[in-house]
């Protein structure tokens, strides 16, 4: 805790994670040499990827639920997978989590208030009931909720959007420095989705909280995040400032991804409908030696298939692609 101000907030170094299934010992590389750094507080960092890219696994590794097979996750300079119990409490106070389905986040048999109460009591050391309530109420008010509307209710008595708001309120109670949000809005309706995203932006501005926003939706990523990492089959193909990457993608996968994004604008229809020749997703992609995208990439050659591209720094972004190697 002493190196609080000097160390980077969150650092992932060479994270590898392999899952094994069934009789045949079929191995599935969920994450392959993932590097990522959130420099300091007050940053919204997006991890964008499609289904099967390993983004949820990554979130769980950062939360300490899974252990990586190789590599380190450091929060403020400390490896979070080898924390002492007092440090683990500190970590869970400073880092909080929000999940995709709010109904699966709260135990349906318990009142949602019990989570708020438990958090305050156990992390902040308050013991007096009225003191706790007062504190909870002040936090809830700051994001537009009232304790009286929440206190006696069970999870199913809220709509999905409201419940997600309460989950966020709960994570705010400990005044965290980092919130890991795993697809926090993908189950919500479009008209409510933006409210939660605005709340994130607001919290970042007001309390200097950093977010690790995990999503498959590039439009929302563009809307809120400062940095973005594009995940493909367990590897980060490109990472850097959101503005740079989404406006001017360099990696062929990011390019195709952005081209494929449907937009609420009929004028873009002709471009969208321009045929795109792509092979189907292949299972081989999980086990390939070289670049995972090489089967589908129109620029790929023998080298791409055989050898993993290094991480190349161009301006202020990092790209894993042989195309940019000589630069």
């Amino acid at each position: 805790m002493d190196n609080k101000n000097t160390a980077q907030l969150l650092v992932l170094k060479n994270i590898n994670k392999v899952f094994r299934y069934g009789f045949f010992g079929f191995e599935f590389k969920a994450l392959d040499k993932v590097n990522l750094t959130i420099e300091h507080e007050g940053i919204i960092y997006t991890i964008a990827g499609e289904s099967g890219s390993g983004k949820t696994t990554l979130a769980r590794i950062i939360l300490g639920v899974h252990k990586p097979d190789e590599g380190l996750v450091e929060y403020k300079g400390k490896n979070i997978h080898s924390l002492k119990s007092s440090e683990a409490r500190w970590f869970r106070r400073e880092v909080q989590a929000i999940f995709q389905d709010p109904y699966a986040t709260f135990n349906p048999m318990k009142k949602v208030y019990s989570y708020l109460y438990e958090t305050v009591r156990s992390f902040l050391g308050f013991h007096d009931e009225s003191e706790i309530n007062e504190y909870i109420n002040s936090r809830l008010l700051s994001i537009g909720l009232k304790l009286d509307d929440v206190k006696e209710k069970y999870p199913h008595e809220f709509s999905g959007g409201e419940l997600q708001r309460i989950a966020i309120a709960k994570s705010l109670l400990t005044m965290p420095k980092l919130i890991i949000a795993d697809e926090p809005v993908s189950m919500l309706d479009a008209s409510f989705r933006i409210n939660i995203l605005n709340l994130f932006k607001d919290l970042k501005r007001r309390y200097n909280i950093s977010f690790l926003y995990i999503t498959h939706d590039l439009a929302t990523a563009y809307y809120i995040s400062d940095f973005i990492a594009i995940l493909y089959r367990g590897t980060i193909v490109e990472r850097g400032p959101t503005e740079d990457i989404l406006r001017n993608p360099l990696h062929p996968y990011t390019q195709i991804l952005l081209d494929s994004l449907p937009e609420p604008d009929p004028k873009k229809r002709d471009k969208y409908m321009k045929p795109l020749k792509l092979s189907e997703i292949e299972e081989k992609e999980f086990t390939v030696q070289g670049c995972k995208f090489s089967f589908r990439c129109s620029y790929s050659n023998e080298k791409c298939l055989q050898t993993r591209p290094p991480e190349i720094l161009i301006n202020n972004r990092v790209i894993s692609c042989w195309l940019y190697h000589y630069k």
Binding site: L63, V65, R92, A97, T105, T119, A167
Partner: protein, 294 residues
Amino acid sequence: MGVRLVVQGLFKNIIKTRKMGLKFKAGATIFFVIMIFGLLSFLTPHYHSYWYHFPQAHPPSLQSVDFIFGTTSNGRSVFWSLTNAIVNSLIIAVVTSMLACHIGLIIGILSGIKGGVIDKIMMFLTDSFIAIPGLPLTIMLAMILKPIINLFLLGVIISIISWPWSARMIRAITLSLREKDFVIFAKFSGMSTWKIIFSEIFPHILGFHATNIINTMLGAIGAEVGLAFLGLSIIEMDTLGTMIYWIQRYGAILQNMWWWVVPPIATLILLFLSLYLVSTGIQEFLNPRLRRVK
């Protein structure tokens, strides 16, 4: 603290019985009636322990309570035998289910939570036990222990084949719960591992555990009857199994001594039915998807 939570959870579930379905109510009623009948055994007259006390093979008559269900070829009152048999069979069932289900519960939760080497060793042991066909093993044990057999020991013997299934199921449930979002969420709400086990994981296991206890009782009663068929139950005591053993032995069916035959068999079937109804009732209550199917 943990205990308090568990008790609270149980209490809440019991309160909810008002909302239980028809199956549960029917099952509980039948079971209750059988229990009351069993409780009459505390009034058993001392002469019930003597054989050939009454006229042999006497059909039912209303002259006294002793004759209400008639007597056996050994001159014993079927009525008193039956009441005692119910209690003794239930004792065996309860001993078995308490032992087997709780051993299963502890091993299952430990395996599921701890993982790693402990998990591997325990699951290897469990799987090996599951692979042994239960009946032959119990028969062998019962035969060897015959000289010192008693109600408790019989329960122990039967639980040897009953615990592995519980352990396996509980472990599977625990494993699936361990990585659920709400468990992680609870962890990040500052709950300790034990508190999470008790307040987040255990309530989800409780339902299975309850039905498992009842199903194990059902299985234990059946197993006792099975052993009794071979003369391996406690022959000198009244249990539902031994009653049937004597019926078999004396060819009561072929002699059409229906008053001797019908009570234990009917009780047995009703007992099976009631326990099964209670267990499916709980299951349907806990799993609304089943409730819909009805």
